[in-house]
Amino acid sequence: MSLLKIVRLHKDFGGVIAINALDFHVDEGEIVSVIGPNGAGKTTVFNLITGMQAPDSGEILFEGETIIGLTPDVLTGRGIARTFQNVRVFANMTVLENVMVAQHCRTSKGAVSAIFRTAGFRREEEEIRERAAEVLSFFGTRLVGYRFDQPAFMLSYANRRRLEVARAIATQPKVVLLDEPTAGMNPSETREMTELIGRLRDDRGITVVVIEHEMKVVRDVSDRVVVLDHGEQIAEGSYEEVTSDENVIEAYLGRPARAH
């Protein structure tokens, strides 16, 4: 059964069609790349899946149930997490706090227990802290130690991207949607991130959907590639299949020589 299934999804913005009769699915344990020209509706698909926008018609099924109309926080609770194209970490919160917040829907203690600092509350705080530290250690030494208490705005660009991924993982998702995780990274950082995406699935069993422009990354991580153009799916298949598809070359890749 598909973990995530999108059926005839449609969305327009004031007459401009963003997503048109889109069908695609993601199976459990897959890494799926979504590629397509700018403005093809890739990020919109993410927004629709995470409940940040509502589709005009169509259906999104997660673990076989419709999730249309659910709010993002509920969906996070169900196990969908994401990162953002333009890095949206909580800049004025510390690295650790960023990741601690992400466990909000996995924890439950309310105002009263917080005020009285009940035993349950203290235990839960301890757990949150430990889990946050654990998730951050996923990136080796890059985000640990003294960085825990550093505000996120002091991180370098690449580290902010990493923190965003860590934050997504900390929600304990079943599927994580990564929006251009390597944008703006240099070749070595890109390599590192590529490897990490693989480990997300292999070590943690998280299904991954990734939007990417860097074809090298797409090649290295994807089990399957979905190509969108003008809100429609124009091709789907393995990297090789897709990159040799005429439509894809026409709409996205351009002259083959350009795509490494």
């Binding site: 020209p37 700018n38 403005g39 944008a183 703006g184 240099n186 350009r258």
Partner: protein, 242 residues
């Protein structure tokens, strides 16, 4: 080449951001008719260099020269008037204005209103699609179209030097390719282009010469061919593992 006057020149430019020394003794020259690229990773000082060209950052020491004139502490508009303009990263059109108004914004400082129609024609020649979209709000255009308008807007200023900030950043391969084609076209039409880019292989494929910036210093420079074959370059910036 030495006898030619550079249209854009940095002479020992140092910039500081508070106590932080960003650009360190940067020297570079861009001659008329060239495509020159400035390569560097994140936070290498590329953006600061651009800001220094445009007068958004004033060098603490050293000079920025435009057409041989020292412009180090001149305002942005002064420099724009003297023929520098930029196509910003991510296009950044005025989305609520029409395409036409966007193009007109490019002529903000020009006084030779009589030539505007010709210039507009020139843009249409370059990008026939733009003509069709003239009355449309810029925000409604597709990514590729927006890129054309952004370049068109810059060209309307009749720049001597066109600065391109990260023309490949976050773009689909086909758009990246289109972008670099446009750059070549513009250059062929006589405009000097200064490309600031992280994607070294792409940039060097069209450039005449290149500089490599690393933590505020020029560490390599030379013709595109030289740079492409430089082993250090290949490893650090072209992403080749071996």
């Amino acid at each position: 080449m030495a006898d030619r006057e550079p249209v854009l020149e940095f002479r020992g430019v140092n910039t500081h951001y508070g106590p932080v020394h960003i650009l360190k003794d940067v020297d570079l020259k861009v001659f008329d008719g060239e495509i020159v690229c400035l390569l560097g990773g994140n936070a290498s000082g590329k953006t600061t260099t651009l800001k220094a060209v445009l007068g958004m950052v004033i060098p603490t020491t050293g000079d920025v020269l435009l057409n041989g004139e020292v412009c180090s502490d001149k305002s942005t508009s002064y420099r724009v008037e003297r023929g520098v303009t930029m196509v910003p990263e991510n296009r950044r059109l005025f989305k609520r204005m029409t395409v036409k108004e966007n193009l007109e914004m490019g002529t903000y400082l020009r006084t030779d209103k009589e030539n505007l129609a010709d210039d507009l024609e020139r843009i249409f020649e370059l990008f026939p699609l733009v003509k069709e979209r003239l009355g449309q709000k810029a925000g409604t255009l597709s990514g590729g179209e927006q890129q054309m308008v952004a370049v068109g807007r810059a060209l309307m200023a009749r720049p001597k030097v066109l600065l391109m900030d990260e023309p490949s950043m976050g773009l689909a391969p086909v758009l990246v390719a289109q972008n670099f084609e446009i750059i070549e076209q513009i250059n062929e039409a006589g405009t000097t282009v200064f490309v600031v880019e992280q994607n070294a292989s792409m940039a060097l494929s069209i450039a005449d010469r290149g500089y490599v910036l690393q933590t505020g210093q020029i560490v390599l420079s030379g013709t595109a061919e030289d740079l492409l074959s430089n082993p250090q370059m290949r490893q650090a910036y072209l992403g080749e593992v071996d």
